[in-house]
């Protein structure tokens, strides 16, 4: 008797029967609809915010070249859709954000005045950290933005602590903790994932995979380059997101944030993105070809992507150019402010070491 042909596909299990459903459910939800249904107004806002980051960073690069910014300066150019897509979905009164040292974009996404950010880059008294932090160490507790941390991966466990505080205070907020594909190989990231899952902490881990950990391509440093899978060992659901598309990032944020806000525990989101500039200003980026960068710029640029959509939805070139012009003006003003503001008073050397006097 002939056997009935066996279907190659396993019969779909219901979520109740599938013990791993939780691990892929969020990804499935994203795959059903990858694009956030943004109004034209929202799209214009995303465009504007991403462009502000782009122009700000270009100017920061210029000021670095002029010697007005010192030390390390890590630019966010190319990655704008990640910060804007995610942070536009936050509840600013409740949720907290923490990131590493490539932090200018995350601050601008909050609408923090570019002047005080640029003035921090130039080390001036008017800087958001009074000139004492610099590019890598900026904070705005007013906005629940907790830095700006210079040690690769440290922000992930600190973010776990912020999440613990949300849970402890039962304030309804969660922590959005960004880190890079480089930090994704730090042990403390997994120590934190373990505790976050164990204690059901309200935290969204976001790997901004910009393909290079400084000069090392992900394939040369990571045994598992699909970073969204790295929460599986702790039963943290993963999401694989196109970080060059602001509407997809925003859509992923909607799904992930709801999961966390519903008290279902941590989520690990990988945003695949690309940094156009070197790791820091002093990186000539010899580890990749000019063609590779150009190809991304030509075909995947997040700002060009949303621009195209806007034009399809009735915006005009003139309208968008006018926005760009305004942003350039804002950035020029910020740069002038940062250049002309006074340096901190010498007495500032000794302030803020300790809060109290003993």
């Amino acid at each position: 008797m002939a056997k009935a042909p066996r279907s190659k596909k396993q019969p779909t299990k219901s979520p109740a029967e599938d013990p791993d459903f939780a691990l892929h459910s969020l990804q499935e939800a994203l795959e059903e609809n990858r694009h956030y249904d943004a109004s034209k107004e929202q799209m214009l806002h995303f465009y504007e915010q991403m462009l502000l980051i782009r122009r700000f960073e270009e100017r920061a690069g210029q000021l670095y070249g002029l010697g007005l910014i010192g030390g390390f300066c890590h630019l966010y150019i190319g990655q704008e859709a990640v910060a804007i897509g995610l942070q536009s979905a936050l509840d600013g009164d409740k949720d907290s954000v923490i990131t590493g040292y490539r932090d200018h974009g995350h601050m601008l996404a909050y609408g923090i005045d570019p002047k005080v950010i640029m003035a921090e880059l130039t080390g001036r008294e008017a800087g958001i950290s009074k000139g004492k932090g610099g590019s890598m160490h900026m904070f705005s507790t007013e906005h629940k933005f907790y830095g700006g941390h210079g040690i690769v991966g440290a922000q992930v466990s600190l973010g776990g602590g912020l999440a613990l505080a949300h849970q402890y205070n039962d304030d309804g907020g969660f922590c959005l903790a960004y880190f890079g594909d480089g930090a994704a190989n730090q042990g403390q990231v997994y120590e934190t994932m373990n505790m976050a899952a164990l204690w059901n902490l309200p935290i969204v881990f976001v790997v901004e995979n910009n393909q290079y950990a400084m000069g090392t391509a992900v394939g040369r440093s990571s045994a598992e380059t699909e970073f969204h899978r790295r929460g599986t060992a702790f039963r943290i659901p993963g999401m694989d997101v196109n970080g060059m598309d602001v509407l997809e990032v925003r859509q992923a944020a909607e799904i992930a944030f709801k999961h966390v806000r519903d008290g279902k525990g941590p989520v690990l989101m990988e945003c695949n993105t690309y940094r156009y500039r070197g790791h820091s200003m002093s990186d000539p980026a010899k580890y990749r070809t000019r063609e590779e960068v150009q190809d991304i710029r030509d075909h995947k640029d997040p700002i060009e992507g949303i621009k195209k959509l806007l034009l399809e939805n009735g915006s005009t070139e003139e309208e968008l150019k006018a926005i760009d012009k305004d942003i350039r003006k804002t950035v020029t003003e910020a740069a002038d402010f940062a250049e002309n503001s006074p340096e901190p008073e010498a007495s500032e050397l000794y302030t803020d070491v300790l809060v109290e006097e003993y």
Partner: protein, 461 residues
């Protein structure tokens, strides 16, 4: 041949315990692995397991007996061909320590005893305690617990996290009872993951809570030192004063007993070298309580260094509702006019002992307990130096780049005109702490070394 069953040492620092319960009776057959009795140490109730086989003969220590010294014969075990009822108790012997009659002295006790002797009564009371206050004898372990419990009752934001702090009641029993009173939300057992939970504690402090992060010992905090130094200590400065980090990192620090080099380091000087941290290392129970309460209330990150060998010692603690001591103030433990001995933590006990012995020889030493290592109370040290003109530092730590080195530098820079003799360091030997009892004893600071150094600076050697 009958076998003597002796009171076991169930932790590296156990000297005596309570024979809580006999689980076997005289005449019972004993097989290796049988649980014979339950023994309470100062930390936990432990099971006493049989290693040898035979019949339980005479039980020499009744259940419920407290203060049974380690090594005391508690029962006899009859071998195969013996009649258990014939076995005689061994000749009267209280404990190995009192057996000086030619028997081999247990060499481990010597080094422990040096560090663990209970100090004599301290005659100078802390200035913060009002006249007429009554005192209760409390162990350092209980004082620390009381400080945490009081602050947790007072402030909802205060919580404790660390390895074995909750269900186990603390690896060294310091958090005993806290889980029962405050629940799992505020007494959090962590996995063994120091870097991660130090970061989570620090982040929680940045997020507005007041965490007490317990390290089982500070040796393990080396895995976490990045968060203590880079995240906790520096962020307020780097943020221009925006980012508060009111976290307390606490746990035992320094040499314990016979646990070898990786478990025996004093990190006082490491942390005290970092601007942005407050570093406290109390000696007695009153200071442990008053300073831990101050540390929990501080807006700054505090490293609070305890000492395992001192946990079980009891001291007079004032009966005050809210006993909080000032951070950054040293304490004169004993007044004297001939020489100053500066110390902190466990070495304060040795310094006081040395001072008593020196007094018999006509040298009156002033003993200062620094209590806070950062910010350091230079004024108290320099004022004492101006009075005595001679100074010795007694520190249970390596000498190189130590707190002692720092005190020497301060005396040179700011007290040079008052010096009648070179400032002298008495520290541990400059080697990783060895395991062997005799070598450990040689490596650690002791009273004779302090006495010798004092005599030298007094030109009396």
């Amino acid at each position: 041949m009958a076998i003597e069953l002796k009171m076991p040492a169930l932790s590296p620092t156990m000297e005596e315990g309570t024979l809580a319960k006999w689980l076997k009776s005289e005449g019972d057959e004993i097989v290796a692995g049988d649980i014979i009795a339950e023994i309470e140490t100062d930390k936990a109730t432990m099971e006493f397991e049989a290693v040898d086989e035979g019949t339980l003969g005479k039980i020499l220590i009744d259940e419920g007996t407290e203060g049974v010294k380690v090594g005391t014969v508690i029962a006899m075990l009859a071998g195969e061909d013996e009649d258990a009822s014939d076995i005689e108790a061994p000749a009267e012997k209280e404990s190995p320590e009192s057996d000086k009659s030619g028997g081999k002295e247990k060499s481990t006790d010597a080094s422990e005893a040096q560090l663990m002797k209970t100090p004599r009564k301290i005659d100078v009371k802390d200035p913060e305690v009002p006249e007429g206050t009554s005192f209760t004898s409390v162990s350092v372990r209980e004082a620390l617990r009381d400080a945490m419990a009081e602050e947790m009752r007072k402030d909802e934001r205060v919580f404790v996290m660390g390895e074995e702090v909750a269900q186990y009641q603390g690896a060294y029993k310091v958090t005993q009872g806290l889980l029962d009173e405050f629940g799992a939300k505020r007494v959090i057992d962590t996995p063994i993951t120091e870097y991660g939970f130090a970061g989570i504690g620090t982040g929680a402090a940045m997020g507005g809570l007041r965490p007490i992060v317990e390290f089982m010992t500070f040796n393990f905090a080396m895995q976490a030192i990045d968060h203590i130094v880079n995240s906790a200590a520096k962020t307020n400065y780097m943020s221009g004063g925006q980012m508060r980090c009111p976290v307390v990192f606490r746990g035992p620090n320094g040499a314990a007993s016979r646990v070898g080099a990786q478990h025996s380091q004093n990190y006082g000087a490491w942390y005290a070298s970092v601007p942005g941290l407050v570093v406290i290392a109390p000696y007695d129970a009153a200071d442990a309580k008053g300073l831990l309460k101050a540390a929990i209330r501080s807006e700054d990150p505090v490293v609070f260094l305890e000492n395992e060998l001192v946990y079980g010692r009891s001291f007079e603690v004032p009966d005050l509702d809210d006993y909080v001591l000032p951070i950054g103030k040293a304490r004169i433990m004993r007044e004297g006019s001939d020489v100053t001995i500066v110390s902190y933590s466990i070495a304060v006990g040795l310094a006081l002992e040395a001072a008593e012995e020196l007094s018999n020889e006509g040298i009156e030493a002033e003993v200062i307990d620094l209590r806070t290592l950062r910010p350091l109370d230079k004024e108290t040290v320099l004022t004492s130096l101006a009075k005595t003109n001679r100074l010795v530092i007694a520190e249970e730590n390596w000498p190189t780049c130590s707190i002692a080195s720092e005190i020497v530098a301060i005396c040179m820079e700011e007290g040079f005109d008052h010096l009648d003799a070179p400032v002298t360091r008495v520290c541990n030997e400059d080697v990783p702490l060895p395991y062997a009892a005799n070598l450990e004893k040689l490596a650690l600071i002791d009273t004779p070394r302090i006495i010798e150094a004092v005599k030298k600076v007094c030109y009396r050697d």
